[in-house]
């Protein structure tokens, strides 16, 4: 059974000269992974800080596990929250094991969890070396271990896979999925779009502090109405003669088909005996992201034109 862990109701945050966030609505349920995307300075980190209760909202309401994260009642739930900040550099003179022990003490997590966690993120051979000797990827692994301390029920990860090699990235997503299956909610903030899509349940795209799209990837794809790309081999000129298909032809071997006609067109293509190979690509996260950013930019231009 899932229940809302984080709810934001028309949340805004402005600094002196900057509207960092503007009217954000969001509900994050337990056992859900949400991807948070946006250009640099779009407000992703501000949103995380608000949820963490490090800064206060200017407007609107925010609830984490049913209470305001800034209030005293939220104190206990902080033990259940894991956070990986962007660009954190841990205490350089300490060893990885000492760093994690320190954070475990602060979270009242038993000491026995420290070594297994370090092993889980692949730092077992380096845990008694000083952090200053660590590479970027190893520091990132230490940060992840820190975020995973004490089996959190809410995880906020800012650029978690930066600096990780492909295998470590895969292991990271495995751990995240495992936590999700145990009922944890996860907010994932990333610039590296390829590879993220199969791991997230929902996505939110931010631009200039506003939420420009939110929903499952399928919903976003449908709204954006991006074409499915079909590449064929072996049919060659025959495509142009098919009246149904000729309107979708981009070049001799490539078709751009609207989402809803995909299966229909595929059936027709499979009728060609000369067909050697066929590739079907749904619009990927990167294309969806770019589409919504372009839309947002377009609206902005129109608004400013209207103002003149």
């Amino acid at each position: 059974m899932s229940y809302p862990v984080v709810t934001l109701e028309s949340v805004s945050k402005h600094y002196k000269h900057l509207r960092a966030l503007d009217g954000i609505n969001l509900t994050l349920n337990s056992g859900e992974i949400m991807g948070l995307f946006g250009h640099n300075g779009a407000g992703k980190t501000t949103m995380m800080k608000l949820i963490l209760g490090v800064i206060t909202v200017s407007d609107g309401q925010i609830k984490v596990c049913g209470v305001d994260p800034k209030s005293k009642q939220a104190w206990n739930s902080r033990k259940e929250i894991g956070y990986l900040p962007e660009n954190v550099s841990f205490y350089e003179q300490l060893t990885g094991h000492e760093v994690l022990t320190y954070f475990a003490r602060l979270k009242s997590v038993p000491k026995g969890q420290v070594s297994p966690l370090l092993e889980k993120v692949g730092l077992s051979s380096a845990m008694h070396r000083q952090v200053k000797t660590y590479s970027k990827g190893m520091r990132q692994r230490l940060g992840l271990a820190q975020a995973f301390l004490g089996k959190p029920t809410l995880l906020l990860l800012d650029e978690p896979t930066v600096g990780l090699d492909p295998i470590a990235t895969q292991e990271f997503y495995l751990s995240v999925n495992q936590l999700r299956n145990e009922g944890a909610s996860i907010i994932l903030c990333s610039h590296v779009l390829p590879g993220v899509e199969q791991h997230i349940d929902r996505a939110m795209i931010l631009s200039n502090g506003k939420s420009i799209a939110i929903g499952t990837l399928d919903e976003l794809r449908q709204q954006a109405n991006l074409p499915v790309v079909i590449k064929t081999q072996g049919i060659n000129g025959a495509l142009g003669q098919n009246e149904n298909l000729s309107q979708f032809i981009v070049d001799a071997t490539q078709l751009h088909i609207p989402q809803e006609l995909k299966v229909n067109v595929l059936k027709q293509l499979l009728d060609y005996d000369s067909l050697d190979d066929i590739q079907v690509e749904n619009a990927n996260l990167e294309q969806i992201y770019q589409y919504y950013l372009r839309m947002a930019a377009g609206e902005k231009n129109q608004n400013s034109k209207g103002a003149i």
């Binding site: 800080k49 963490l52 209760g53 490090v54 800064i55 104190w75 206990n76 902080r78 033990k79 929250i81 956070y83 900040p85 962007e86 660009n87 954190v88 550099s89 841990f90 205490y91 003179q93 300490l94 320190y102 954070f103 003490r105 602060l106 979270k107 009242s108 820190q146």
Partner: protein, 272 residues
Amino acid sequence: MNPVFAVALKEFQDSLRNRWFVSITFIFSLLSIGLSYYGSVASGHIGSPSLSTTVASLSSLSVFIIPLIALLLCYDSFVGEHESGTLLLLMTYPISHGQLLLGKFLGQGSIITLATILGFGSAAVLLSITTDMQDVGRSFSLFIVTSSLLGLCFVALAYIISVSVSEKSKAAGIALITWLFFVLVFDLVLLGLLVGSSDAITQHGLVQLMMFNPADLFRLINLSSLSSSDVNGVLAVAINSSFSTGTLLSAMVAWVVVPLGITLIIFRQKNL
């Protein structure tokens, strides 16, 4: 483990690790033992000096060194963590601003206090074993208590600097200026006031002004128990004041508590 102790333990271990503790203790014991045995050479006498000369020269040296060490030890305590991003991370943990501040103060304060006790205490022990001076214990314990308070007070001042700025280099600069102000400029201005306007400040008024400088308080407490021939400068005028040692000591304690309070207020409003 209580988060306050977790932080205190880490700060304490950090200072042990980067040899701050060993160096401070070594400097203090070198200073105090050296001055105890050879202090009189500076004033032209040969032979072991009297207790009052020893304490007088020790306090006039410590008043420069202890604040400097305390400021250097603690100026980056918050701004350093702010720069590396761990301060933001810590504030998402179940630890309040006050607990973090208290933890840091306990850890770093105990380093300064322990170093003073060991460093200056070693001289006291040596003196009481090798010479037949009277009251070594009493004079030195007052000296050690005030030295620790002086150190703690500048630790607290360093915290104010550390939470107020956003760059480490700026904090270092301001720390040095603070040091110069309290150990040098303040006294020069007082001396100027005394010389420039002969009747404007009474002796009582002067001591009241000195309450605004923890370094002067430190000297005042230590020197007022000595014979005035060993004392010179502004202090010669201020000595024999109407304030009891107890009052002066509580003024020093206030110089620890008030800056800590100011630090907490600024820290709570700090934008992370």
